[in-house]
């Protein structure tokens, strides 16, 4: 756990101890994630330093097989990845958001592959 100035705290860090204002009211609880919104609240409340804990990121999620479904499957998977890249581009350094991204990617690719498999073969 580190005692750091709020000015050096970054979105994605987790509070190691609760933050109280001068009246003793709880502004943020232990374990809360320091989002931009919360950092703004702490700055506005005149909080100077906070205890930051290390983020306990969930286990890494393996990515979907990139070769499943042949060339059409690979093309579809690339399109899914590109779309998610845009959606998640603000969270590239956030381990939790990357976990969510990988889970969504796997599910979307799997769902689209199963739709492709259930479709009649294209007419030649």
């Amino acid at each position: 756990m580190r005692w750091i100035p709020v000015s050096q705290a970054a979105s994605g860090m987790v509070l190691g101890e609760p933050v109280l204002d001068s009246q003793g009211r709880i502004l943020a609880r232990k374990g809360e994630n320091l989002s931009e919104e919360l950092l703004g609240l702490l700055r506005a409340s005149g909080i100077g330093n906070v205890f930051a804990a290390e983020t306990a990121a969930p286990d890494e999620v393996p990515r979907a097989d990139q070769t499943a479904g042949g060339p059409a499957g690979a093309e579809m998977a690339a399109a899914v990845r590109k779309r998610l890249e845009v959606r998640f581009r603000r969270h590239q350094d956030n381990a939790l958001m990357q976990t969510i991204r990988n889970l969504a990617e796997n599910q979307l690719i799997q769902a689209r592959l199963s739709t492709q498999t259930n479709q009649p073969p294209p007419r030649v």
């Binding site: 994630n33 969510i100 969504a104």
Partner: protein, 288 residues
């Protein structure tokens, strides 16, 4: 709050053509505040409005729920699904029917409802996965979480055009752009409408706080569920949430909802499959 906030609120609250809920739903919302209201009272009330009862039964019998036998009456639906779910379904149908399609440049009305439906289904699936006390309320809260956007687009088109431009030029979220233009966002506007419609407190808060889940002090788990469902449905790229980005999910909320990668993977799978069966709900939106 700034004078602007109060002015905008007054415009919404005094708008003569604000969407109206059916009188039965208004009475229902009043009735459920009383602890003595029984399931039979609710069933009787919904059955009085033939159009509302038939709409509710259509949704109950839709492939979304997949009951093996047809349900013919509200009373029967209450026995099978429970009083709370049927009441929320009647409310969902009534709200979906009360909004008229908005054709505004830069706003995808159908995409909006697809996102709302996906958030509703994801919230429902997630609530069941964690065995939440809010299992009956998650669906309706997810469905209506962004209702403020419909009011924003309809009553403040000039401000919406500015927000649209900011999203495209600065690559920011709709909420961030709204704060730049208005000083507040659609969750506040949705909250005004929820209060005006006399929604129960938990539903008002689910709508009002879905973008500020860490500041929630009451009905926290419901607010966290709606926030998480919003993040997850956007991650699954369903519908149009107003911008192409995803709000950050705080680690604290992931922990509090006892989420794990395996659990979220299952939620994603069930949400996609629920969405594939949600045609009857979305048809209501198409019918306008």
């Amino acid at each position: 709050m700034t004078p602007d906030y109060q002015n905008y609120r007054a415009v919404v609250e005094n708008a003569k053509d604000l969407p109206k809920l059916s009188s039965v739903i208004t009475r229902l919302l009043e009735m459920i505040k009383s602890p003595t209201t029984s399931a039979a009272d609710v069933g009787q009330l919904i059955s009085q409005d033939v159009a509302l009862a038939s709409l509710t039964l259509k949704l109950v019998n839709s492939p979304f729920y997949g009951f093996s036998q047809k349900i013919y009456s509200i009373t029967h639906a209450i026995v099978i699904m429970g009083f709370s779910r049927v009441k929320n379904l009647a409310l969902a149908g009534s709200v979906l029917r009360s909004f008229k399609p908005t054709h505004t440049e830069g706003f995808d009305y159908y995409g909006f409802w697809e996102h709302s439906m996906a958030t509703a289904i994801t919230a429902d699936v997630l609530a069941q996965a964690i065995d939440s006390d809010y299992s009956d309320e998650a669906f309706i809260s997810g469905l209506l979480h962004d209702q403020g956007k419909l009011i924003f687009v309809r009553y403040f088109p000039d401000e919406f055009a500015k927000v649209r431009k900011l999203i495209d030029r600065q690559q920011i979220t709709m909420r961030e752009a709204e704060h730049q233009v208005l000083g507040f966002d659609h969750s506040h506007i949705g909250g005004w409408l929820a209060e005006k419609w006399n929604f129960p407190e938990h539903l008002c808060l689910g709508i009002r706080m879905h973008h500020a889940p860490l500041l929630a002090r009451q009905h926290r788990q419901l607010i966290w569920l709606v926030h998480a469902a919003d993040v997850f449905s956007r991650a699954l790229c369903i519908g149009d949430g107003g911008d192409p980005f995803i709000p950050e999910m705080p680690q604290y909320i992931w922990n509090q909802l006892r989420l794990t990668p395996e659990r979220v993977g299952n939620v994603f799978e069930n949400a996609l499959s629920g969405m594939a069966r949600a045609g009857d709900f979305l048809e209501l939106v198409r019918a306008g």
